[in-house]
Symmetry: C2
Subunit: 278 residues, 2 copies
DNA sequence: ACGGTTTTGGAAGATTTATTCTATTTTTGC
DNA sequence: GCAAAAATAGAATAAATCTTCCAAAACCGT
């Protein structure tokens, strides 16, 4: 490889910059260096805590190849690249770990300890969300809801909080929205008309009412967007698009962090889609 | 220092275990080793990405002192201790960074990008929560709610999702609970009686209805536990205990991740307090 | 204040880890 | 299919990092 001196002259100064460059040159990299790029793409977080030997082994190349890869990225060597990741790491979690471990060890019970556990579970849930998220599905869901006349929301028990927050957001963005099954049985299913869409939220153990509403609406050919904590639950049959948000439990309890994050993203996307359509 | 051979024989096998041992021996450590312990307590997250030279400099001691410190903890040396942290690091963020950066760099808009931003904001909110959390206040709040006859909840607009999830949890744990201001104005403030307690949630811009309910209840000498996104808002006057959960915004929007996590912790703590009181 | 014990600082030694070099293989252009 | 260029593997070298050692200092009980 001939290095285009002018172009690669300076090393990336942040991880984002690095990834940008990585994507830029990934296609024109020779075989072994390509392996390095591929491996890095999927294991970029390992750089901060690994040696070249580890990483090159992971990528299935010789240490020297990985070395050349670092230089192709514009670094003087591996160490300079690693320094970037270590710096970012130090910044990203100021002293959360400290706080967490203090709360965790001091006693091992009490509300503070609980909060620490829920917070840690929340972190993990968000990680899972980002790993599993199918942004194509999310985009499709946003599209369906954006083109609906009225957005109908349904979700009971633990799912109700999700639905109510989504209702709040949609209303704030002036999207016509109705939350179903709140007070008694007043809201008739017939309020959901062709041209509308239904957003149904249900987690294990599924609430029969939500499922049957989703099923009957789907039968009438109206789009149903589902949100659940599993791919293959009963919602998957009725739903045109099924979004999944797994949560990490703390004992018998959970905070629906991932679901709420996903639902909020969806609501905002719907609002933006509508706006640009006007 | 004489090492009590039998006791310190084996090295900690997890970070929690390490911290436990650290707290156990912290008091009986000589000066320099004590400095190491103190520094580690506050910068424990640095171990994964630093050298002994870095850490010993941070603690203000010689590298050899830090070395002895590691051994006092039961490790063969610094490397063994560091391996622990690196292993935990690898687990804790599987490949979230990868996912995030992919979504972040690919395009820079669309629902997937939104979700990535909200997820990142969620992480930060949880970090702030753990840093700012006053576990004494949280315990006090749990105590007040646990000793109340009926727990009354109020929160409108964006706060309603928090309140409804908390209501769900408390109900599930058989704590007598009422959510106020849902359907019309039917629920009279007079339903809140001496011996009860009110949990009021309100974020900027504050909802007048929530505030006035909280104020009138507080006037009658009934405990009010507040949850807000700021320390010095109008809720601080009425509230016996005020909990704070700051959230990181994404543009004009936010996911109430921290507030929901805090509220859930509180609800579970209340449930546990009640149970043990029965 | 003294002798024994513990702790410390600094430097020397051992080990791991990063980096470079070169012969060999693979690819590329013609 | 051949020559030139590029890329690679593996070993050799250089650098950094960890670890041990020991003389000097601080501490402690008497």
């Amino acid at each position: 490889m001939v290095e285009p001196a002018a172009l690669e002259a300076k090393a990336p100064e942040s991880v984002s910059e690095l990834i940008e460059r990585l994507d830029g040159i990934a296609d024109m990299l020779p075989k072994r260096l390509g392996q390095c790029a591929e491996f890095l793409r999927h294991n970029i977080h390992l750089v901060a805590v690994s040696t070249v030997a580890d990483l090159s082994a992971g990528a299935g190349v010789q240490p020297s190849a990985f070395m050349r890869f670092c230089q192709a990225l514009g670094f003087s060597g591996f160490s300079q690249m690693q320094a970037l990741f270590r710096a970012e790491y130090r910044e990203f979690r100021p002293d959360y770990a400290e706080r967490l471990s203090q709360l965790r060890t001091r006693g091992g019970e009490g509300p503070g300890w609980l909060a620490a556990n829920f917070a840690e579970a929340g972190h993990k849930s968000l990680v899972f969300l980002m790993n599993d998220l199918d942004s194509g599905k999310l985009a499709k869901a946003a599209e369906l809801l954006a083109s609906a006349g009225t957005v109908h929301l349904v979700g009971l028990r633990r799912a109700f909080a999700i639905v109510s927050y989504m209702g709040y957001l949609l209303d704030k963005m002036q999207v016509p929205t109705v939350i179903h099954r709140t007070s008694a049985q007043i809201e008739s299913d017939h309020a959901i008309r062709p041209g509308d869409a239904l957003f149904a939220v249900s987690f294990k153990p599924f609430s029969q009412e939500t499922l049957s509403l989703a099923a009957s609406v789907a039968d009438r050919g109206i789009p149903v967007i589902g949100l659940s904590d599993t791919e293959d639950g009963p919602l998957s049959e009725a739903a045109t698009v099924l979004l999944v948000a797994r949560e990490v439990d703390v004992g018998a309890f959970r905070v629906p962090t991932a679901a709420l994050t996903l639902a909020t993203s969806l609501a905002v996307a719907v609002g933006q889609n509508r706006e640009s359509a006007d």
